[in-house]
């Protein structure tokens, strides 16, 4: 039987509402993606579907530790980050269904969105490319007198890119308060970590950049959140980058087109037993932050929001072909 991972942590250090907000974000992401998967298999979605199944604790635990002025560059597994920053489930469906009303007006697909007014940059596909953008964004915000920090999300695979190295070194040289959230889910598409890097842990690289590295259980939202609150608090006082490595497993395929046959079944089973949502429920009920019934209520509120969001997005139009040429340049 898996032990409750957070049993040693004191949840009462922070307000109850914060924990419930984190739980809600995780549910909204999970249930939205469940719907997305169904729609994909019903061929009701154009393009691919990539989910953050099993990654919910990382995005929710980190993003809910951010403040209003902070900046985020989430990647494909981080629907939680968008939702935590205020994106509506409705907007997510608009995006996936290529609606003119969505955050990219139907111009880009699936996870490639982000609202700057919520401090979130829209990713490009190219792995590692967004880290330096987060660096520059937060450099500017600090110059404007804001005590902002940035959180940049990458997978284990993305740490092999030149862009990753350039950005982290750059942030280090300029003492930029950048939390690099490495979601180590053990696979990059089909490639296991043994073919990706040879340090024991990715944070072993931190000393090479002259920065600190911290490891945390990526399936435990309580552990992630408490650790990141602490790091971010220190970062605001003494700006500097930190590598945070969150261990987890990508329990589904790279995208829904991929059955992940290359991931050993035993490994999948091990992580399925440590599902971040189940973990979080257990942590909250054990610590008497919420009753199971209260959490069930949140679940059904999320489901309802998803039903309504999907139905509304469905009823909205796709972009008018006559607008094809619009928006390439700023006016």
């Amino acid at each position: 039987m898996p032990v409750c991972p957070s049993s040693s942590l004191d949840l009462n250090q922070i307000p109850r509402n914060q924990w419930l907000a984190i739980y809600r974000t995780m549910c909204r992401a999970r249930f939205t993606e469940q719907r997305m998967i169904r729609l994909y298999h019903q061929a009701k979605i154009f393009g691919g579907v990539y989910t953050g199944f099993g990654h919910e604790a990382i995005g929710a635990g980190t993003a809910h530790a951010g403040g209003d002025n902070d900046l985020f560059t989430p990647c494909i597994r981080d629907l939680t980050v968008h939702l935590a920053r205020g994106l509506s489930v409705l907007d997510v469906f608009r995006q996936f269904l290529a609606r003119a009303t969505g955050p990219t007006r139907g111009r880009d697909g699936n996870v490639h969105y982000g609202r700057l007014d919520q401090g979130v940059y829209a990713m490009i596909s190219h792995l590692g490319a967004m880290i330096s953008v987060a660096v520059g964004g937060v450099m500017a915000r600090r110059r404007q007198g804001l005590d902002a920090v940035a959180m940049a999300y990458v997978g284990d695979g993305a740490t092999s890119t030149g862009d990753f190295h350039e950005a982290v070194n750059y942030a280090s040289v300029f003492d930029v308060p950048l939390l690099v959230v490495i979601e180590n889910n053990q696979f990059a598409y089909s490639t296991p970590n043994s073919q990706q890097y040879r340090c024991k842990h990715l944070i072993d690289r931190a000393p090479g950049y002259g920065i600190e590295g911290v490891q945390v259980d990526g399936n435990d939202a309580v552990a992630v959140h408490l650790k990141v609150r602490e790091i971010v608090g220190e970062m605001r006082q003494t700006p500097r980058p930190v590598l945070l490595e969150c261990d987890t497993l990508r329990i589904r395929g790279h995208g829904e087109h991929d059955d992940a046959g290359y991931i050993p079944e035993a490994l999948k089973a091990e992580y399925a037993a440590r599902d971040p949502l189940d973990n979080m429920r257990r942590s909250l009920t054990d610590a008497e932050i919420a009753t199971a019934r209260e959490l069930d209520t949140i679940d059904s509120e999320c489901q309802q929001e998803i039903d309504e969001g999907y139905q509304q997005a469905l009823a909205e139009p796709m972009p008018d072909p006559a607008t094809l040429l619009e928006g390439v340049y700023a006016e």
Binding site: G106, A129, Q196, Y197, P319, P321
Partner: protein, 333 residues
């Protein structure tokens, strides 16, 4: 009939089958050949073009790399200059942008600067039409064609896919081999097991005609042929030239085709501004101005990033329909 076909090994082969077949043959025939890239090993590549090759030839010759496009091309340069024949798979052409530096600054200039050959082949899946959005649909041939020192091939048919791949690998220069994702499983041909290399630099007339000529390549060859079918029903005969190689391209076949119809439409899936069609049009204007009865026309993608929404991508991407419209205008000029 079926029996004779079976005896010669003639089977229906898709474009991606032919790529795999050529890779397999190259690995078998030439022990200098190595195949590498992201997820090309046991997984067989994002599009399954390398499926089974690691099993057959071992991890020494077919292997996965870290996600490091620049190092993938850089290491290929090192290997090629030490006697190997590396074949790289870029998972998507779009991601090759992060390695352009190694390709255009390093690989493309080495022979000119030092006299050392750099025989590398970079396979790059490209093109849209399936909801891939801005970063999984790009057509960037122009960038490569612009760089002295690179060769660029772009097959449209399964037989050319295998024949050109062999020629690319045998060529002593860096060759960008563009393969269109839409064609992978959409085009099939009945082909024998044995095949000859298709020479680099030679276009093919896919369809003869007298009323107008389309110069095209890649997925647009098929849209152009479909457009030619539509006009054939109206008694208009359209010549379709598939360039197959973009650099060095086949001026002579182009000029002969222009001479036969006196009207030219250039079609490509890439953006219009500075697209490869501009080079073709300029070449015709320089060498065949006297052959023209109408201005050279182009059908190309409009100058906007590739949109995701089907309602936009369907008008973004050139199609048989937009080609038919352009042909009518051209013929009526």
């Amino acid at each position: 009939m079926t029996q004779t076909l079976a005896e010669t090994g003639v089977v229906e082969r898709t474009y991606v089958d032919c790529i795999r077949q050529a890779l397999q043959q190259l690995l078998r025939d030439d022990d200098r050949v190595v195949v590498f890239g992201e997820d090309v090993g046991a997984f067989g590549g994002a599009f399954k073009a390398t499926l089974g090759l690691q099993e057959e030839f071992g991890r020494d010759r077919v292997f996965d790399t870290p996600i490091a496009e620049s190092a993938i091309i850089g290491s290929a340069i090192g290997m090629a200059t030490q006697g190997l024949r590396p074949i790289i798979e870029m998972q998507f052409l779009d991601f090759m942008n992060t390695a352009l530096h190694q390709l255009i600054n390093n690989a493309a200039t080495i022979h000119f600067r030092t006299g050392n050959a750099v025989p590398i082949t970079v396979r790059a899946p490209c093109g849209g039409g399936f909801g891939g959005g801005p970063f999984h649909s790009e057509e960037l041939e122009t960038i490569f064609c612009h760089m002295p020192g690179l060769k660029v091939v772009y097959p449209a048919f399964p037989c050319d896919a295998r024949g050109l791949l062999v020629s690319a690998v045998e060529d002593p220069n860096p060759v960008v081999y563009l393969e269109n994702k839409y064609l992978y499983r959409h085009v099939k041909e009945c082909l024998a097991d044995n095949f000859e290399p298709v020479p680099i630099g030679v276009a093919r007339v896919c369809r003869r005609g007298s009323d107008a000529t389309i110069i095209t390549y890649g997925a647009m060859v098929h849209e152009s042929l479909a457009a030619a079918d539509v006009l054939a029903a109206e008694e208009r005969q359209i010549m379709v030239v598939d360039l197959r190689t973009l650099k060095p391209y086949d001026h002579d076949t182009i000029l002969a085709a222009v001479a036969a119809t006196n009207r030219v439409l250039v079609v490509h899936e890439a953006w219009r501004c500075c697209g490869f069609g501009a080079e073709i049009a300029a070449g015709i204007a320089e060498r065949g101005f006297h052959l023209l009865d109408a201005p050279i026309m182009r059908v190309a993608a409009p100058d906007v990033p590739i949109p995701f929404a089907p309602s936009l991508e369907s008008v973004y991407r050139p199609s048989a329909g937009t080609i038919v419209e352009a042909l009518r205008e051209l013929i009526e000029y």
